[in-house]
Subunit: 468 residues, 2 copies
């Protein structure tokens, strides 16, 4: 990858840009160190690289004005939602302006008949679902954190129910984004389906702020199901659990969620939530549909699981019991951290074809054991995606080095299995070299060509995805 | 849109390119007029603009060699599948080489556990489904014609069951494409889900051969359902039928197909297939699932339809009866043409938010009536997409002018309703001006910038989508 050196970008130009921005917006251009640090990466092990200033726009027009000024001064622009991304997406390695969308948090319209909604990027997924409560509709993508919808689109987020309802790529119908010139692009009409031109919507989704700054999203909504059933089942091995997943999906059961907890993770939730689950791999599933349908589906799942040696199968359609049954999953993250108080959790994010999942998870477990790294595993196994939460003492350099070594090994293993180094967290700062190994030089140069064409001055979140 | 004039491209350069190609491939570079005409647009009213030559590659490597030669000589390259596209995608307005993929028709692998398959672009959808017959899996996208999968990807095809299984955008997991330089790009890994870099897969899907030539596709497969139910119901008005669609989907019924035939179309199938359906709007639906599930779903649909004034509701789960029940839909195209023997059928393709569908269809019917144009209507109404099949005497210039006027008016109407001028046929040659009206100057210049970056010499299917 050729890195574009820009001799015209230095501290002087940035200061000049900040001067023009301050003239225009006064003390809304904020430069306090604490605020700037909060707007850089804080969630994991990456170093904090604060921007030079933070601005909270109130309108799309303000974003357009700011972008044009930054472009004139070759000043980087880093869009910011809630800061919950895991791969350093909001860090500012070259300085610049963080555009925080917390004040652009309006739900612009809900079209019940069309099952869609238009929102500003600062709306969080929980805020949208609270707003939708009385409509019978919900927004399905659930990455765990109460992330902003703009950020979720930018990173291509998904989560537990992607196996049924898809990821952000499947649930953003259209968006508006500001280009470096200040020009506003509308990527698609509001129709459910389109063949009109390049799919700019899906090009923007997952582009991590490197192609434009999203200022509005039209999202697909789903009907709240009439009934929900939940079931859990323990397995003698990861392989038995994975084969159950494969057969469940091949059978055509419309599973809404299907999650794996490995034995270490089950031990963690037993301790944290005072459960008494067998400390072997556990599958949790959920079905959405009619009352009769979801009961039938859970029972069919139970039969498939039994054929694979599953034991302790339980299912329910009652809400309070469902919550109890899924408690192990809801508490997984915090329970995992409690396995080693004081440690920080570093999450991997590989995703492989489902046929390779058992091999991949088992190899990861073996290598974690031999390296002496404690790391519970949770997986969105219907998609072949799983996370090892490496519990690391961040004051211990050799532990950090071991963790980096493991993460690199796992990324390469997934790639060798025709998988990806990232199913849902994105590339951000740390995974650029794996992206190139995964897709090859052709894809990287095509991405760089697109980046250069859309952002010739390289002001849009430079350095992310290995693009400059 | 700035049109890129290329002074270095003329007949001399093309002849030089043809010379080099012939040196390399001998008489496999075919230049007979009949063959060339067959490789230009033949399906509707657009003029036939033949390429200068036709070549049928046998390997990806041959495509790479040919592309590099064409790029050196500024010679256009037009990928060709089965020629069933409806918007002039395979026409060669600037001449050049048609690359016909009929000999690259291998099914490379089927991964049953992962429910995916890798194919060469010349494989047709029926050939793939025949190959899959014993696996319990099928490829879902069904545009009617037995199109090639490469062509279906290039145009972003869909069809009757997109409402349940999605379009090509949702069912191509990854692809390989040759760029003008001859470089091969792999857009994604085979994992079900990825956040790794720009979504080049979905950028290529629907790009109509203007960004690269597809040489391999990895497709998502679906499990053949245990049971299928079909139902039909007549309605007093298009509006009543559309409200039934909205309620069916909001209710969460997992409808696999939901098709509308308007009264003119029902009259056509009554005559053609000797049916005795009431000549009012007709909905046909299909459900996929368990035996109990699909019966329950069809009955629930019947109740919703009755509330909207639907009459004559029939449903069945038996295969031979299902075929009979859906005969009106299967015969729709040929029945439509028989309304006016000798006339050619010109198809519109607008797609609007479902809440606007009744208004859009009704307005179209009114305008067709007042213009005296005979045009049965069929709609993939779950997506808000419908086709008017204008029956036109192609020897009558004033009829053609009237048809063009109507099509333009309908495209503009759909755009004014937040819809698109094309739900599944693509932009091709004729709809570029509507694309700009639909998405605005910002999107058009972003598309042109991407096109320029990826194809600096403008050799990839130039003139389609309004891009040069």
């Amino acid at each position: 990858m050729p890195i574009r050196h820009d001799p015209s970008r230095d501290e002087t130009t940035t200061n000049a840009g900040l001067g023009v921005l301050s003239q225009r917006f006064g003390n809304r251009i904020e430069t306090g160190l604490a605020l700037r640090s909060q707007h850089a990466h804080t969630t994991t092990w990456l170093p904090n690289q604060p921007p030079d200033a933070v601005f909270c726009p109130r309108t799309t027009q303000e974003v357009q004005v700011v972008m044009a000024i930054c472009n004139d001064h070759r000043m980087p622009v880093i869009p910011f939602g809630t800061g919950s991304s895991l791969e350093g997406h909001v860090n500012a390695p070259l300085g610049g302006l963080s555009i925080d969308f917390k004040d652009m948090n309006a739900i612009l319209q809900v079209n019940s008949d069309d099952m869609d909604a238009s929102v500003q990027p600062g709306v969080t997924r929980k805020a949208l679902n609270t707003h939708l409560r009385d409509t019978g509709l919900f927004f399905s993508v659930d990455p765990g954190a109460d992330a902003s919808l703009g950020g979720m689109a930018a990173t291509g987020a998904s989560g537990t129910n992607a196996v049924r309802y898809g990821t952000m790529k499947d649930n953003v119908l259209a968006l508006k984004a500001v280009l470096p010139s200040g020009e506003l692009v509308t990527t698609a009409a509001r129709a459910r389906k389109t063949s009109a031109g390049y799919d700019l919507t899906r090009l923007m989704v997952g582009s991590e702020g490197t192609l434009g700054v999203i200022t509005e999203l039209t999202l697909r909504l789903r009907g709240i199901p009439e009934a929900v059933s939940a079931a859990t089942c323990s397995f003698p091995s990861v392989s038995a659990a994975c084969h159950t997943v494969i057969q469940t999906i091949q059978y055509g059961l419309p599973v809404a969620r299907i999650e794996l907890l490995d034995a270490v993770q089950v031990r963690a939730v037993n301790a944290y939530s005072r459960l008494r689950l067998p400390e072997t791999p556990l599958l949790l599933v959920e079905f959405h549909g009619s009352a009769a349908g979801v009961a039938e589906q859970a029972e069919t799942f139970g039969q498939i699981a039994a054929e694979q040696g599953g034991t302790g199968f339980v299912f329910t359609t009652r809400e309070e019991e469902r919550t109890q049954l899924w408690q192990a999953r809801h508490d997984a993250y915090w329970a995992g951290l409690q396995l080693r108080p004081g440690a920080k959790g570093l999450s991997t994010d590989v995703c492989v074809p489902v046929s390779r999942l058992a091999d991949c998870v088992t190899a990861a477990q073996d290598r974690l054991a031999s390296a002496g790294i404690l790391a519970p595993i949770v997986g969105h196994v219907g998609d072949g995606n799983f996370h090892c939460l490496l519990l690391i003492d961040m004051d211990n350099h050799s532990e950090i080095a071991q963790a980096e070594d493991f993460i690199g090994w796992l990324n390469d293993l997934a790639i060798s299995m025709e998988g990806t180094c990232t199913g849902e967290h994105g590339i951000g700062q740390g995974k650029a070299k794996y992206l190139e190994r995964e897709l090859g030089a052709g894809a990287m140069s095509m991405m760089q060509a697109i980046k250069n064409a859309v952002d010739p001055n390289n002001i849009l979140n430079p350095g992310k995805m290995g693009l400059y």
